[in-house]
């Protein structure tokens, strides 16, 4: 079936629909929230840039009617850093998966947060490598079964909001695909924040994660998010690791929102200082 028109045609490349995502996937919900945030944004449309890496969430950029970049696996933040330094007026949003942002690209993530590069990073966490068929990664809960952890995952996963907050980001949030309004509002806030703005969005992945871990149907994990999410903006981030066990709570909220000079601001100050103090040094 070819889709002819879409309500969000001004931001979506509707000629590319239907998308590649599986039934029950949460990525489309995050895209919808991003589209709404762009439509609400007062920043001129042509300054909005979408950059993604590789994987299921990596495909987001290609569906957006923006300047969009589908880069290499894990490198979207580094790519975005180069672009953002040259053109600080751009509103760049990196959307990518947990494997992309938090594992293969983990080094770029923590250093961009440390530098406080003025970027928005949305990490859709579906707890596994989905596009390659369901393997465990750095965000897979302890004990979870995947094709590369058939006897249960023995590795402790990253608590990514805690990591990114510790690295120095200006804004850190976590929501789930169930929290459409909160995700949209957080993206709007991330567009205002000067500095590194990070949000983890937990997402169902019925065919490659849910199937083997107690959430086989499309709605199972959404119901889990609905029933077990606890909003706590002031949560102790060291205690908010996600277990994805039916009995455990999922702590969500806008945890960090602080003003630190952004990397672009600091680079601008540096250039001004060099220009006014003269080139005589060295």
């Amino acid at each position: 079936m070819k889709v002819q028109h879409h309500l969000n045609d001004d931001v979506i490349r509707s000629e590319r629909l239907p998308n590649i995502w599986c039934p029950g996937c949460g990525i489309g919900i995050v895209v919808g929230a991003y589209v709404k945030a762009i439509q609400k944004s007062t920043i001129p449309r042509d300054r909005h840039v979408s950059i993604s890496g590789i994987g299921c969430t990596g495909r987001v950029s290609g569906y957006l009617n923006l300047d969009s970049y589908h880069t290499t696996h894990g490198r979207a933040i580094a790519f975005a850093t180069g672009m953002a330094v040259v053109r600080p007026e751009l509103e760049i949003t990196v959307i990518a998966g947990d494997g992309d942002i938090g594992v293969i690209g983990g080094n770029h993530l923590i250093h961009a947060a440390r530098r406080n590069v003025d970027l928005n990073v949305i990490m859709v966490n579906n707890f596994n490598y989905g596009m390659t068929g369901g393997q465990h990664g750095g965000t897979t809960p302890l004990g979870a079964k995947t094709h590369t952890s058939p006897y249960g995952n023995i590795e402790t996963p990253f608590n990514v909001p805690y990591l990114v907050a510790a690295a120095g980001a200006s804004f850190v949030a976590r929501w789930t695909a169930m929290h459409v309004r909160q995700v949209t509002a957080a993206i709007s806030r991330m567009m205002e924040v000067k500095g590194f703005a990070f949000m983890e969005v937990l997402s169902p992945c019925p065919p490659t994660f849910g199937e083997f871990n107690g959430f086989p149907d499309a709605l199972d994990m959404m119901e889990y998010f609905r029933d077990k999410s606890v909003v706590d903006h002031n949560a102790d981030l060291s205690k908010i690791a996600v277990t994805a066990r039916p009995e455990d709570e999922v702590v969500v909220g806008n945890f960090v929102d602080r003003r630190r000079p952004s990397y672009q601001e600091l680079l601008g100050d540096l250039r001004t200082r060099v220009a006014t103090q003269g080139a005589g040094k060295k």
Partner: protein, 387 residues
């Protein structure tokens, strides 16, 4: 075509280091963005860039690794900047991933490799030319690349400018394959007046106000395509996946053929415009040495020494190892009775030379971490003559 803008080194004669000359060439070529990671023996390039780029309104940023540096270059290139990085073997290996990204996205960028000795960490402080084949074949998926190889401080300056011009014209990553000797050597540098420096600017896509969903963003029947710069209203999708004329991912065979042939063809079909070489004592030569980079300095000494012994030897110095100047080598090989390929490795450029030669080809190879000594090349010349 344009001339250098302000802030570059004033015309005149200087006594300076190869790595410094590289930075000054880059600034005069219009480069205003550097992303790097320190590595011996290229670090003076990053250090000099850190001093100089803010003075000319640019940025020199330090990334967390060479993977990130190379990714940042591609992003900055799409922001409209002329961009560069410099590295050595281990960093070059890490850059291969996003060199491929620059290639498929057609992002102009310059990568300087100040080559050092040995595999892995090797000997960071000593010379080698072991990355020549890596520059051609190191990034997966069959790339056609452009590489310059300077033999002096002056050429490190000149070829850096030339590398930017080729990167801008061909919209592709361009290598400056220097080595530790050329990078750390101090020599005379002549900075010509601005009007003598040619500076090429990339073709830029005209902004489009109305979005035509079927528009052809990438007309692969053309050799050189205008670049969609971010934030100018093109709303282009730039993809690392094989993509069609609209920029959308595709697994269609014809799409793949068109895109990959375009990427390789724009370099291959214009190879003769890119080739640069120097001929010394070749008019009456009966045997010739083929060399490049710092090794070519020893090769010239060897040729002179052979001539003193009564052997009519000559030198072909490859200034652009890639695209390989096959016709130049073939022509020479039909004039001489043998070729000696002198390089600081166990035999790399000797392979394309042999592939394109009609006469016997032998390698003069030397790679303990020192500049190849002329005597090793003279011995090879004598062996060729004797056979």
């Amino acid at each position: 075509m344009s001339r250098p803008s302000g802030g570059g080194l004033a015309p005149g004669t200087y006594f300076t280091m190869g790595n410094f000359a590289c930075v000054e060439g880059a600034i005069l070529a219009g480069c205003r963005f550097y992303a790097g990671y320190p590595i011996t023996p290229s670090s003076e390039i990053f250090e000099r860039a850190s001093v100089r780029f803010p003075q000319v309104g640019g940025n020199a940023i330090e990334m967390e690794d060479e993977v990130g540096s190379m990714a940042a270059l591609v992003g900055a290139s799409f922001a409209g900047a002329k961009v560069m990085t410099a590295t050595s073997g281990p960093g070059f290996s890490l850059m291969m991933e996003n060199i491929g990204l620059a290639y498929i996205m057609e992002a102009p960028c310059v990568i300087v490799n100040v080559q050092r000795a040995g595999p892995s960490t090797g000997i960071p402080t000593l010379v080698g030319q072991g990355d020549m084949m890596q520059s051609k074949w190191g990034s997966h998926g069959d790339l056609e690349v452009i590489a310059y190889s300077p033999s002096s401080v002056q050429e490190f300056f000149d070829f850096t400018i030339q590398a930017f011009n080729s990167a801008e014209k061909f919209r592709t990553p361009v290598f400056v394959m220097a080595d530790q000797v050329v990078g750390m050597m101090w020599e005379r540098l002549r900075v010509p007046p601005a009007e003598e420096i040619e500076v090429v600017q990339r073709l830029v896509m005209e902004p489009v106000s109305a979005i035509d969903r079927e528009r052809v963003l990438f007309d692969y029947t053309r050799d050189f395509l205008p670049m969609a710069i971010v934030g100018t209203g093109n709303r282009a999708n730039i993809d690392s996946l094989t993509h069609d004329s609209r920029g959308y991912p595709s697994t269609d065979h014809e799409v793949s053929e068109n895109m990959t042939r375009h990427l390789a063809g724009k370099v291959k079909d214009h190879a003769k415009e890119i080739w640069r070489w120097e001929e010394r004592y070749l008019d009456d030569a009966e045997v010739a040495v083929v060399s490049y980079g710092s090794a070519a300095r020893s090769a010239l000494a060897a040729v002179k020494s052979a001539r003193a012994k009564g052997i009519k030897a000559g030198l072909l110095r490859l200034q652009t190892p890639w695209p390989f100047p096959d016709e130049v080598v073939e022509k020479l090989s039909s004039k001489v009775s043998g070729l000696v390929v002198a390089e600081i490795n166990f035999g790399q450029m000797v392979h394309p030379v042999r592939e394109n030669s009609r006469c016997p080809v032998v390698g003069a190879n030397w790679a303990p971490g020192t500049l190849i000594e002329p005597r090793a090349i003279v011995e090879a010349i004598q062996a060729v003559v004797a056979s």
